[in-house]
């Protein structure tokens, strides 16, 4: 007696299970990870080497075009990756529907909001330099 007794032949043929998706999430998580493999060491080493010593150094560093675009790539990939990652954590541990949906929405707002704010800050420094 199999569970597929309750499923339509089309659902069996598609074989997507109850969630209907997930492969896209898996791939996005890993593609953003590939970008971060390059961007994170660049940022951490640059931050340690170039950004010590205060405001003027930070502005100097962020107003170089390559650093500015690197920061945009880094924050884009990082917040994309973080949103996907925390989504899985929320789905794993929070089972009450209302709370789960609220946290998932909050997760999206935080990730996209912080990315937008950082992007605006970087553009302002780069254009204003």
């Amino acid at each position: 007696m199999s569970a597929s007794r309750y499923r339509t032949p089309l659902a069996n043929a598609r074989g997507l299970g109850s969630a209907k998706e997930g492969t896209g999430h898996f791939i996005k998580q890993r593609v953003s990870a590939l970008a971060l493999v390059v961007l994170v060491p660049w940022f951490v080493i640059s931050a340690v080497l170039s950004v010590r010593g205060g405001y003027a150094n930070a502005i100097d560093w962020m107003s170089q075009p390559l650093n500015a675009i690197g920061l945009l790539f880094l924050s884009g990939a990082a917040f994309f990756h973080m949103r996907l990652g925390l989504q899985v954590v929320i789905e794993d541990y929070i089972h009450k529907t209302g709370m789960k949906q609220s946290l998932l929405i909050l997760n999206s707002f935080v990730a996209i909001g912080l990315f937008a704010a950082i992007a605006m800050a970087v553009m302002k420094i780069w254009i204003g330099a």
Binding site: A33, R52, L71, M82, G85, L114, A121, V122, K124
Partner: protein, 137 residues
């Protein structure tokens, strides 16, 4: 075991409490824990960049908080989290892409390596930050 499970021949995964301690288990738990930690840490990164765009006084305020003793402790934990999640993340990519490193011995060895890498790389970064002369202002 509830009645719903009876007659279902598929194996159940062991319950969390009867898992034996092993390196890959700790690495897996720490990968998730550091991931969540880095999410929180990104707020500091955001504050740092946004304060730079706001001007010198905002930047000095955020930078002073980051360079305070509690701030430096949190930053050190952040470097531990970044370096571990980075190394262990590459291992996940090796698992998922070329499907390398699945044998238990290799997987355990890489787990231990990732923890060692995290400690050494963090110590190295902080040594550079403290002892190599950077730009001034």
């Amino acid at each position: 075991m509830s009645a719903a499970h009876q007659g279902d021949p598929r194996p159940l995964s062991p319950h969390l409490q009867i898992w034996k301690f092993h390196a890959t288990m700790v690495a897996s738990i720490m990968h998730r824990a550091t991931g969540v930690g880095l999410y929180v840490g990104s707020f500091v990164l955001a504050a740092w960049i946004i304060s730079a765009a706001m001007g010198r006084s905002a930047y000095d305020f955020v930078f002073a908080a980051m360079m305070s003793i509690p701030g430096q402790i949190l930053l050190f934990l952040w470097t531990l989290a970044v370096t571990f999640h980075f190394a262990n993340g590459i291992r996940h990519l090796m698992w998922d892409g070329p499907r390398a490193g699945f044998s238990p011995k290799t997987a355990s060895a890489i787990s231990v390596f990732n923890f060692a890498f995290s400690l050494l790389a963090s110590a190295g970064l902080w040594a550079i930050a403290y002892f190599v002369k950077g730009g001034q202002s």
